[in-house]
Amino acid sequence: MPDTLLFILVVVPFIAALGLYALRNDSLRMVLVLATAVLLTGSSLALFSHETAAFSTTLLGLNPQPLIVLLDFVVLFIILAVGLSAKHRLIIYLAGAQIVLLAVFKLVSPAEATGQAMFLVDPLAKLMVFVVSVVGSVIVIHALPYMKNHEEHLHLTTSRQPQFFAVMVLFLGAMNGLVLTNDLGNFYFFFEVTTLCSFLLIRHDLTDEAKANSLRALWINSLGGLALLIGLLWISLDLGTVNIQQILAMTPEAAFLLLPIGLLCFAGLTKAAQLPFQSWLLGAMVAPTPTSALLHSATMVKAGVYLFLRFSPAYSGTFFSTTVALVGAFTFLAAAGLAISQSNGKKILAYSTVSNLGLIIACAGVGTPAAIAAGMFLIMFHAVTKALLFLCVGTIEQRIASRDIEDMRGLYAVMPVTALIAVLGALTMILPPFGMLLGKWMAIEASAHNILLVVILALGSAVTVLYWARWAGLFMTYPFKGRIYAESQPAMTRLPLFGLIAAAVLLSFYAPAIYNSLIYPTISTLPLAMVDAVPGTSWGILVMERGSFPVIPLFLVAALGLIAAIYFYKVAGKVKPTGPYLSGAQSPDNENEYIGPLRQSILPATSNYYLEKIFGESTINRWVNTTAMVLILLMLGGGL
């Protein structure tokens, strides 16, 4: 049975991708996409009923290893061909080096390693599969009406949707493979597939900017791929195995192995777009919004942080681990600062992703059970909320033809449903009792013994509140003008939004249960060096050694507060409306305007503080990138 589920989760998307590529019919494509989405969602949920650590050596009785080797070379040769046709030297060198090294690896790698314990279904993998399959499916469904509008807007003669959806679905399969595999060689293969998929998706619109940005994404991720391959080769030569569980069991004794582990982490940093590699993820926003949503929430960048969490036992309790925490925390703060200076909605979301992933990496670096738990919470809640916010911005952009948040001022008066969902989504990022805040709370309490780290986290946490609260408030800035009617939207646009916001709230409510069923089994069995007491739950209260977070009681209080506030809002509906305060110089004709010089009516306008002189890209990019590079060198040096 787990065999079949694994087959559906990993292989079916590859087959569906072929089908989607071949099909040129809109309604058939819709059926196939929906069917794949249902299959993936169902299988990822069915996986929960299977016990931990179910190993499989083959898929449905077949050994896929030779096929994987073949496809691995195919992917690398495609990347090489891309490099050659674009005359991009860096990509050519990186792909060429990987082809040579991969051939070496296949020649010298220990034969017994391949074939045994190819897949591992443990709670961490289940959590990741859930994030990839469920959130990914919702994004793909939302993309159906979105891409139709998108192509109508571009006036394309031949639809490019077949390629688009093929790559989207393929991406999900590759991510599932990446988080389920227990063979570091296969991990590398799936890692490269995600690199190629992201390249194809970013390039999709074929504008000059899209082409340039996709090449940047390709070379940065190929650099990570090369680092991963070197680490893989090194580990397999030294330990004689590529079985991830065996590696984790051996590394604490073999301290010299921290350098290859450091190379793996370097690959994770490029994939998670951590400073100074953030430019590829920021460039990726030229792509249609479903691509951004997929890259930022369910796939791609999550592969990077997954790597850190998966390998945390290998470096836990070392100096290297402390530097990992610092690298992550620094990105958390710096990217949050950069987000303040942005007015482009997608860019704010991008920096916020980079920032939150930094926090997750910091958790992996702190490496206590509570910190790893915080990291797992953050992965799940970030995926759901960030997918939601990207889909909101995409939906808004198709309506107002802008992604500048200044143009979204007062959006509530135009599209109240989407605006309210977006506001609630933004608030779930920063306020209790929601999951993101729970994760942040755990992260700060778990790292409170590391002074430098906790100072950085404290600053980053405050800065994060600023850019989310500002955006949420801005959606609601509108002059009072009577009744506002809900906008109409296709069901496949609205349902994903409702589904994701419901998931963000409900998963937060069930956080204690999720902790007990998924996170506790992971952190209580991890061979971590830094062991403090494993947190527990009672009566919906998450109890750690250092403190406690009453999730469900807080939810009840929040519900009471919300009911009171809604009652107040309803009663206020009968209250006499008035114009904004304008120093008493209100125009008699329009209460939103004031009488200015020459008795002209003037509409006052304000815009946000962006603090460009302090947090602007041109001001701090150079400094934060340099600092990040120094920290990464420190990290790799710490592996020696």
Binding site: A448, V455, L459, S461, A462, R546, Y569, A572, P580
Partner: protein, 285 residues
Amino acid sequence: MTSAQVFLALIAGLFLAPLAVGVLTGVDRRVTARLQSRIGPPILQPFYDIAKLMGKEPMLANHWLAFCSMLYLAGAVTSVVLFFLQADLLLIFFVQAVGSVFLVIGAMTVPSPYSQIGAHRELLQIIAYEPLLILVIVGIFLATGSFKIEAVYAMEQPLLFKLPLLFLVLGIALTIKLRKSPFDISASHHAHQEIVRGVYTEYSGPYLAIVEIAHWFEIVLILCLLSLFWSTSIVGLVLLLGITYFVEILVDNTTSRMTWRWMLGTAWITGITFSLINLLWLYYG
């Protein structure tokens, strides 16, 4: 905690503490008036103000203001109640942030330039004091080994001796939270405020009354945090609070409001340097 204690804690947190702060603000106004050679209003003036606001005809420039004022109150009250129930300090801090965020969102709902700028300045105040409060709480953790308030009460010596610099850092946060000069950037009680009442501009009548009451609860929370620094005796606690508050009034009346850049720089550079030094003492001491 027994159920009788929980009941007492709820009474104290919900009613006694905010009433005490109401009186304290009355005293504050009186002392301030004397410092400015005026007689000043009656001690109970803050309560008269609330009563008068409650009786005003409600008028709103945006209905969501009513919604946000209620959630501001809910966040502030919940954080105070959690404190009296001796919950986790960091959690209490995050719950009070709910209130501050809704105050800002409410102010942002109206396109009045005064309220908009006030809201943004309030956000800048939030990023100025939030890291400081987190670091004070981390300091308390390093001194007691736990984020729970009961661990503070188990201490035999006042925390002030272990966290002298963090007490000063908390003072900076307190000045910002109390809206006192030189940090009364987003709103203040003084007539010289050039953006009228900043973040409060659009809250009026009964809604302003709710916002004022919520602000009392916020002050209760900060004073409670201060009280943890002398948790071993009631006399010491009262003295510490009294002296600190008097110093706040003095500072308020002897300094003038600065720009937000200055506030952010001072709060972050001074506050973080002091915190780092004090945290290092704790770590290696």
